[in-house]
């Protein structure tokens, strides 16, 4: 297990699925926090009562509610469940929520001298500090916090690794400064700035940043079976689960989906369209075009660098193309995209093509809840397996490779002048501005918000 927070999140999901199937979810929900943290048992925080409170909020998010909107603290989870059961569609609202009861209010980031300091004679810390914030008091070095500009030079030069940096993991991870502590000292997301990359979600060691799950909505749809429900599996699924992809598809089918399709088939269309668009734009004199399949990146441009938007390809994402393929065949189908991504939930909210988004974690939890093993399934017969280049979209550089291969079909000697941004961070906006300035000779830029591509998405099971 990568960590305890992940374990708890997944265990709760599995319990929820099992209780749903037993028809006892409504009765059980409010008991779960107590069952998991009984009196006289161990606690992970200060006491079992704090743990229980956090568990309640986790369950609330699993039912699809945001903690920020809680009006009545005494409201039972059972009553949230009733409301969730009535939900016809997912509200157009942010898909992340912060559990302030779970947030530890990490102390502000600063540099500190530890007892490793030997008070050496060379004292590189004092000499290298650009603002003279480090001085010797007695035999140890001391950092004047009022002067410190947090450049980290002292930490780099200390031969004894005596200087450490404490940090606020969510703030550090956010590429756009959208998460900050509020007046109560708890993390709060500014949803005007947030690009839904999920980096804070993955970074928080207290797992205080949660997703508003759609697991209950999908379980309800699968139970009601009012119309055909189709699972669309993202290209990053190929390395996520035990067994083969064909076995995974059979397993998913057993959950009650009427059909299962590879989103990579949509990626084939994205490639073809993007290659044409590239040719047209270059012919029209545009210097640069960037990929558009990563929603978090597209959000980043729209919210933080609108002038750059003209360089972003207008080609729809593989998810949209895949959903279009589904709807072409059965116009009333309920489409469920399953991937490793939080931002895709946002993308889906703003298109009629995709009804629900599940993460690999949630898919795994439903399979686990129903005790469906993937390894022991028969292989599903893919009527039209997607090509390797399309399946490779989930890896960094995958899109460029596919687009280049497409362009080379007509012009075998075609050269793409491509660059990659492999994982967005605090420097990305500056990099993008540099690319826009035209000082770097590049005409095709691939941007993936997650390091390594979608395979390392915030909700993927196997992180490399």
């Amino acid at each position: 297990m990568a960590n305890g927070a992940e374990y708890m999140r997944r265990e709760l999901m599995i319990r929820l699925v099992r209780a749903f199937d037993d028809g006892t979810l409504e009765q059980e929900l409010d008991q779960i926090p107590i069952k998991l943290r009984p009196k006289d048992g161990n606690s992970s925080r200060c006491c079992i009562y704090h743990d229980r409170a956090v568990l309640k909020y986790r369950l609330m998010a699993l039912l699809g509610f945001s903690c920020e909107e809680e009006k009545d603290e005494a409201r039972s989870l059972a009553s949230y469940k009733q409301e969730a059961d009535q939900r016809k569609s997912i509200e157009k609202k942010p898909v992340l929520t912060v559990c302030s009861a779970g947030c530890s209010g990490c102390p502000d980031s600063k540099f500190m001298v530890t007892e490793n300091c030997r008070g050496c004679f060379a004292r590189p810390c004092t000499f290298n500090c650009p603002v003279s914030a480090v001085s010797m008091i007695g035999q140890t070095s001391h950092i004047d916090q009022s002067k410190c500009i947090k450049c980290g030079k002292c930490m780099q030069v200390c031969p004894f690794h005596a200087i450490v940096k404490t940090s606020v993991p969510c703030e550090e991870a956010c590429p756009v400064g959208a998460i900050r502590k509020n007046e109560h000292g708890r993390a709060e997301i500014d949803f005007e700035k947030c690009v839904f990359c999920g980096k804070c979600f993955a970074a928080c060691p207290f797992s205080a940043i949660m997703e508003k799950s759609q697991i209950l909505d999908v379980l309800n749809q699968l139970k009601k079976r009012e119309s055909k429900v189709v699972a669309m599996i993202a290209p990053s699924a190929y390395s996520q689960f035990p067994g083969t992809i064909e076995q995974l598809f059979t397993a998913i089918k057993q959950l009650g989906f009427d059909d299962v399709m590879e989103v990579a088939l949509g990626a084939e269309l994205t490639t073809a369209h993007e290659a044409r668009e590239f040719q047209e734009k270059m012919a029209a004199g545009q210097k640069l075009m960037t990929t558009s399949c990563c929603t978090a990146y597209v959000n980043l441009v729209h919210r933080h660098l609108p002038d750059f938007a003209k360089y972003v390809s207008s080609t729809p994402s593989p998810m949209k193309y895949a959903a279009e393929l589904v709807r072409k065949e059965s116009p009333d189908a309920i489409t469920v995209f399953i991937g490793p991504c939080i931002a895709k939930r946002m993308e889906a909210l703003y298109t009629d093509l995709v009804d629900y988004v599940l993460t690999f974690e949630e898919l795994g939890a439903i399979l686990a809840g129903r005790k469906i093993d993937i390894m022991t399934q028969e292989a599903w017969k893919l009527t039209h397996p997607a090509d390797e280049l399309a399946r490779n979209y989930a890896h960094s550089c995958g899109v460029s490779d596919a687009v280049l291969a497409d362009l080379m079909k007509d012009q075998p000697d075609f050269k793409l002048n491509s660059k990659f941004i492999n994982g967005i961070d605090k420097k990305t906006l500056m990099q993008l501005k540099l690319f826009a300035s035209g000082k770097i000779p590049v005409n095709f830029l691939e941007v993936m918000a997650c390091n390594g591509g979608c395979i390392n998405g915030p909700c993927s099971l196997t992180k490399n």
Binding site: M1, A2, Y7, R10, E11, I14, R15, R18, L36, F241, P242, A251, E361, G364, A365, L367, A368, K371, I372, D373, I374, M375, T376, L461, T462
Partner: protein, 88 residues
């Protein structure tokens, strides 16, 4: 000597709750163990009932089920089973 069998449950529950990380165990095992331990991935051991779920991930070592399996606990058990070790 008969090899020690280490079976890693790859049922979906165990996989989600930790055995996925244990699949690497062969690579981190001490070299000298590699000839004495047979590692395999197996389907659900049927231990992941709602009562037991917090015991996941499960593995089976020489036929004996171990809950809360981690690299450390597995290594400790193997050490006990290896002849000449663990009985100082």
């Amino acid at each position: 000597m008969k090899k020690i069998t280490l079976e890693i449950c790859c049922g979906t529950t165990c996989y989600m709750l930790g055995t996925q990380k244990l699949l690497q165990i062969e690579n981190i095992m001490p070299e000298e163990w590699k000839n004495c331990v047979a590692v395999s991935a197996i389907p659900c051991l049927n231990n992941c009932t709602s009562e037991n779920i917090c015991g996941a991930p499960f593995v089976r070592i020489n036929g004996e089920i171990m809950s809360h399996a981690s690299v450390e606990s597995i290594f400790n058990r193997i050490r006990e089973l290896l002849p000449g070790e663990g009985e100082e």
